[in-house]
Assembly symmetry: C2
Homo-oligomer: 341 residues x 2
DNA sequence: CGTTTACGCGACACGTTTTGACGCTTCGAT
DNA sequence: ATCGAAGCGTCAAAACGTGTCGCGTAAACG
């Protein structure tokens, strides 16, 4: 009966094992791991797994939680990421650049989840740099933002993680929400999380509140606290489609359909637009006075109007007529304000 | 002499080995691997490594190139990423969100380097989703951009990789550059790469051209071709500081010093600014007419002016005086244009 | 064109490791 | 208090891992 044998699968099993052990806050017990492995066709004794874990922890930052009886194994928080196939320098650079950008895009908690990945990336870059003499690659790459120069509001500690988890587990949240009123009165709601929306400086949870069935958006920075309840999320009748919700205008991003945009732009802007175009069907025609006439089919959005207005006199809207009217009115009002002041 | 022994370090060595094998275009030979290992204190015979590789390739997507005699080992292109500590769902979600955003931020080639990482992230999310019943997490998270609605210009195939590599290896590039002139005449230059700058829709290489010593910026989409030369990069006399170069105004981002900004904003905007602030020292004071007076110390940039102008009548610049004059002039000119049209 | 060299690979021998089995111990839960 | 699940020490057989040797081959060099 004793079929004691070292086997060709032992390395494979141990590698799988390592991949099944989570990072610190989570943990997984030996019996769970056994089941996980047998689920993948590797049937071994519990004892073997126990021995594997013991061996592995000799040279890897593995630890176990002995407070509860089926001991839970986990990677220590500072365990370096070992990726296999190793990350290549190009990927590492891309990651560094993205992370830098993430600073203004994502709440710090979300960004901090990337830390192990980033440490690894910097390691890779350092190694590549050493090899090639360029140690400070980050000093040689820069990402310039085109977004509004606003500082993301701080989200109270723990809120983002909790919201993310509730969304993942599809469970209700009990939140203390600071209402729009300036006094910042707190209200306690039970909400049904539906989606997460990130818009440059702000982060929103889309959810239905209490017994209502219409989705609202709640700014995460106004959450004073959030705790997960046991109640399961109730989806709105008819289901919930995030695309529709966003397009519906809840985020100042109503999709008001496509328009045939006609602009007259100055030479400098025309040159830029020739490279970074407004649409695939964009056409540019140089006029006699050196300015350029542009036509393009684009979705009509608030973002488009910001862009046009922000460019000031570099651009003139010729059509469609309603858009021209909007911009013209804005220009007139603006001039009046500054003229009168 | 025969010290034949299976050993505790076997697994460790093989894991290190896996980490030293690159992904497809690159490859590494067994002798190289032996040296790499001995460099880390693991001295083994070449034969052992050969056997290790053979064993590992039995259950991992490893392959070898037998065209040149020291065979080169590599991971196949589609080799899934095995990360150890496994990626957690939060990280996976963050990655997905960032990648979605990267679409407009980075050239497709750069983004494609993230593909293995992303496949892994989706795997993780799928697993987490299965467990919790939420399969389509990406359907529940959206990132809305605040950047100009422009389409990134396509960069000719191979250019980005080559530029990145030249920068990494600090070697000169021979490029065919489409000049700003509308005819798009091609010119061949030898350039000394210094830095890479990404500004929302565009990607630039900062480099000195030929024998000149002043850094210029070259748009990557205007590269017709790029090949790495053997010549080493010559840095400008006095060195090169990317921060200074960017701040110097070469990207429409001159840092013109800090100003004490004074605005009068409408109620809706004031509410938003209360959360996402312009600066840490920003102050808001409600005035009698319901509007709000804002003061903040901010760097004076084109981006700031673009933001102010884009908001139209929602904001009025009170100070500093020169900025108010700029905006007022722009408003007047704009009104005149639309009034006259 | 012959020689050299480095690498790939099959074979061998031997000690270590691996692994299921068994039993005892230790907690936590019903 | 009792039961059961996990942790852990021990054992013995079998397979695995390792250095060594030698041969074949293909590219490099004179």
């Amino acid at each position: 009966m004793t079929e004691g044998r070292g086997s060709r699968v032992t390395l494979q099993r141990r590698m799988l094992l390592l991949g099944m052990i989570p990072r610190y806050p989570r943990q997984r017990s030996a019996p769970e791991l056994v089941e996980g492995l047998s689920h993948r066709g590797l049937d071994v004794t519990l004892r073997t797994i126990e021995r594997d874990l013991e061996n592995l922890s000799l040279f890897l930052p593995l630890a176990r939680d002995e407070r509860a009886r089926p001991y839970g194994w986990y990677w220590t928080t500072d365990a370096p990421l070992q990726d296999v196939p190793a990350m290549d320098p190009e990927t590492a650079l891309t990651l560094c650049v993205l992370d830098e950008h993430a600073a203004s895009l994502l709440p710090p908690v979300a960004r901090s989840r990337l830390a192990p990945l980033l440490r690894r990336a910097e390691e890779v870059l350092a190694a590549a740099g050493e090899h090639s003499g360029l140690r400070l690659w980050p000093e040689r790459v820069r990402l310039l933002s085109s977004a509004p120069p606003l500082i993301p509001p701080p989200i109270p500690k723990g809120v983002f993680e909790t919201v993310q988890q509730a969304l993942l587990e599809r469970r209700c949240l009990d939140i203390d929400y600071r209402s729009r009123s300036k006094e910042g009165a707190l209200s306690r709601y039970r909400v049904h999380p539906l989606a997460l929306v990130l818009r440059e400086p702000m982060t929103y949870l889309v959810a239905t509140v209490g017994e209502y069935t219409d989705p609202r958006h709640l700014a995460l920075n106004r959450f004073e606290s959030a705790t997960i309840s046991n109640e399961a999320v109730r989806e709105p009748p008819g289901g919930f489609d995030l695309n529709n919700f966003v397009a519906g205008g809840s985020f100042d991003y109503p999709e008001e359909g496509e328009i045939r945009l006609e602009l007259r732009v100055d030479a400098a802007l025309a040159y830029h637009l020739q490279e970074a175009r407004l649409s695939d069907d964009q056409e540019l025609v140089v006029e006699d006075d050196g300015r350029t006439r542009l036509t393009a089919t684009v979705p009509q959005t608030a973002r488009l109007r910001w862009w046009i207005l922000g460019l000031g006199t570099a651009v003139e809207v010729l059509g469609p007529r309603p858009l021209r009217a909007v911009i013209a009115a804005e220009a007139a009002a603006l001039a009046l304000r500054y003229g009168g002041g």
